[in-house]
Amino acid sequence: MPRWLITLRLRLRSLFFKAEVERELDEELQYHLEREIEERRAAGLPEGEARFAARRSMGAIAQNMEACRDVRGVNVIEHGMQDVRFALRQLLINPAFACTAMLVLTLGIAATVTIFGFVDAALVRPLPYEDPSRLVHVFGTDPETVHSQRRGAVSYQDFRDWRERNRAFRSIAAYDVRAGFNLTTPAGPERVRGLRVTSGFFRTLGVAPRLGREFRDHEEGPSAPATVMLSYSAWQTRFGADPAVLGRTVTLQFPWLAGGEPHVVIGVLPPEFHFPMAAEAEFWATIRGRQACWDVRRCQSLEAVARLADGVSREAASSNLTAVVAQLRTEYPEHHRQPAVAKLVPLRDVMLGDIRPILLMLLGAAGLLWLIAGINGVSLVLARTETRRREIAVRSALGASSARLVLQFATEALVLAGLSGALGLLLASWSMRALTRLISEDMIALMPYFRDIGLSVRVIVFAGVLSLIVGLVLGLIPLVRTSTSETLAGLKEGSRGSASTMWRRAGAPLVVAELAIAMILLVSAGLLGKSLYRLLHVDTGFNLQQLAVLSVSPVSVAPGSPNENERPGDLAHHVAERVAAVPGVVSVAYADLSPLAPAMAPSSTLWVAGRSEHEQLKESWPVRRVSAGYFRTLQATLLRGREFTAGDLAAVRPVMTINNTAAQRYFRGDDPIGQSIALGGAGSPLREVVGVVADIKDGPPESAPHPAAYVPFDQSAFTLIVRSAQAEHTVFPSVVAAVHAVQPGLLVHGQTTMSEQMERLPSTSLNRSSAWLVGGFASIAFALSLVGLYGVIAYTVGQRAREIGVRMALGAQRRSVYRLVLGDAGRLVSLGAALGVVCAVTLATLMQHLLFAVESWDPATLAVASTALIVSALLASYLPARRAVSVNPVEVLRAE
């Protein structure tokens, strides 16, 4: 055994088996004593005398035992414990200092740890799939357009060819972006979250079911049996975690398919499984049965995920798939108008979307708050060391070594930082949960990795590191402070020599740093707030106010029912007619999707008749199916032509409306009215353009204007858009009653208002959360920096009381005293503010892409933030200045 290991073992034994070691030491010395007694008895001494002589020869046993303990190295630890106890007593003696310092440090640590918890959950914690780094999301076209327009990437027919022909993936699977099922329950139909996937979906992700099995290959396709897998939470809440759920049937209807069908439950997913793109689907079924879109190559309703084959890089896989896409293009030229590209993006990046830069920005902001809290802690400790100068002097005069003193102060700092760290961790674990509760249910469904956020090992280690850094820095201050010359100076009562200048010298830069950081946070919060305002007030092209939105879906059309012979679209027409008669309803329209709905509209290529192939723009744009009066109800501006009429819809006439961007892009200066366009390609039926509407923001408000087309509505499920005369919420009961008056079994779901939809869009709610968080950080930082400034100015005024007294005794005006004190403060504040503005603008350019319609150097924000900071800073320094002015010169001079 190496010697250091022996030493370590013995030391640990001394530390943790203290009682035993002590007993052995005792026994050893006792044995020695008895042998001494025996020896003396043997020499003929009587018992009592032998005992006494032996004891005398042994000397002071207690001291010897202490010497042995010293040698065993236990005392270092004992002294450490003493220091900790002493530090705790010191903190208790001065509760004001202890509480202030701990409050400040706790806030800083808690804020940073909270945000780190989110960063950890989203960016660090592994995805709940097998070997997630090999998983990619497949885009059949440019990911940018797909992302901004929220639409599918590949048709089912094309996907099947991808799956068959690619050589790059171990497996590939797809899901239909049109999420949601109608579930038949004893209480009536219900809209539930669900997703249709191809059979290899869970195999590709590498997710093993908790119960039962996953889909098999024959369970996908037109004539496949109907099976369903349940999410863990659906199994828990809807089936009471019944293990016998396998084999039971649930009646599900895919809204794009007529009629519900019994689906056999074949498996239950594990609790940790999530798939953000599915918005927490409860029911997972396969792509099966006959649905028009799945038969047509140009109907791109799927998105694909794939697992790269072993040894195949993302680039190689991408070029392999691009070759497959190109092949399909030549085989079916009429259906593929877009350039052949296949982009593979790591699955994690797609899942995170915009959240990564936002999280990193928030972590940066929280880090700044931590920094400012640390600086405040430093100035507090500095000030406190100042008041303890005499104590230090006395203790070193009494023989405390300077190493022992430094160790003592470092222990105090570490205890302070440790307590703050522990409190900060507690506060953070609470605020993490509080913040996740504040995120809307819609958003959390898109970010399921935030659901089980909490104190992971990484978060705890992070908090420990933060507190340790604070503790070490705070512990180093007295090290700088306790030099011998100052110790001597400290003994002289009332001396104000080097120490106070030292404090002033250190205090001023600290305050400047604090003000600069506060400025950065204020500017960031201001920019985010302005960006949020701009997002919420973006010109949507229609009037969001007083619009109620609800979706209606026929659950099952049993054969022989009276509606059987109706054309799709008739139901919507009847319902709209009935709803229009409801009191308080101004006008009604319907469409497959309302504007700003958190779902993707199907898209098609616009093929202008009478142009040669190379004149066509091969881009695909969203197409909405809308009713007569759609634009009137939205209060959108019709630029040319007319709206659809009831006659267009009843006869399903081949007409269409395009938006202004489409008119500019496809027809330049020509009048589009009367022109013909085929949606989807040369072979598709021609539609006559009857109207041009000013652009409507259909999707996220931050998306750039893009072409869009509108065609007469011809489907069975629809979204009603109701413009009401009063508050939009009040019309729901009567509108729902009117819908059920047409057909009692209709499923009505997703009741919301247009303004709510706007508020709940991912971009607006993310922007709102970050604006609020950074705003909160900024206010705390603002307050801390003002407190710091106040402290420095008040201290300086206290130090200069005599000087001020003399000045006033010599006839100085109050004004000049104010100028003296506020001049000092003004220099610090303007330096801090200027430094802050420079840093803020630099840092804000880094978050430019998080801002909507606001420049990083937005002059109004900079002006407001710096005015706020300077005015409040001068107010904070006015208080000590007033105290300086109100001193009685006589008293001050007498006190000296």
């Binding site: 030493t7 052995e24 050893e28 025996e38 000397g59 002071a60 040698v71």
Partner: protein, 109 residues
């Protein structure tokens, strides 16, 4: 009578190591043996002996074991470790050099 505290620093360690090199011993026996071998010149008090023993144990030069003593009582026996044996050799060589040097000076003067 010379007390070990008067001895050159580190000498007591050497005496202890040398004494238990023959066989493992407990503290009292070590003190007795040093006294006998030095013809009652060196009296090692327990105030010096036990801290020294504990320090040597911490250094890994000797190891302790509880055994029954010659009078049938539990006593803590100390024995040399391998590192201790090496240390004894070095210490002895150093002692020889040192004492030779000292006696050179003392006898000439």
């Amino acid at each position: 009578v010379s007390k070990p505290t008067d001895l050159v620093q580190g000498t007591l360690d050497l005496l202890i190591l040398k004494t238990i090199a023959v066989e493992p011993m407990h503290g009292w026996a070590i003190a007795q043996r040093i006294r006998q071998l030095s013809n009652d010149v060196l009296l090692v008090g327990q105030s010096a002996l036990y801290p020294a023993l504990h320090k040597l144990e911490q250094q890994g030069w000797i190891e302790a074991e509880w055994k029954l003593s010659e009078n049938n009582r539990r006593a803590k026996y100390y024995a040399l470790t391998r590192a201790g044996r090496k240390a004894l050799a070095t210490e002895t060589r150093q002692w020889d050099r040192l004492s030779a040097a000292i006696s050179l000076i003392v006898s000439k003067a």
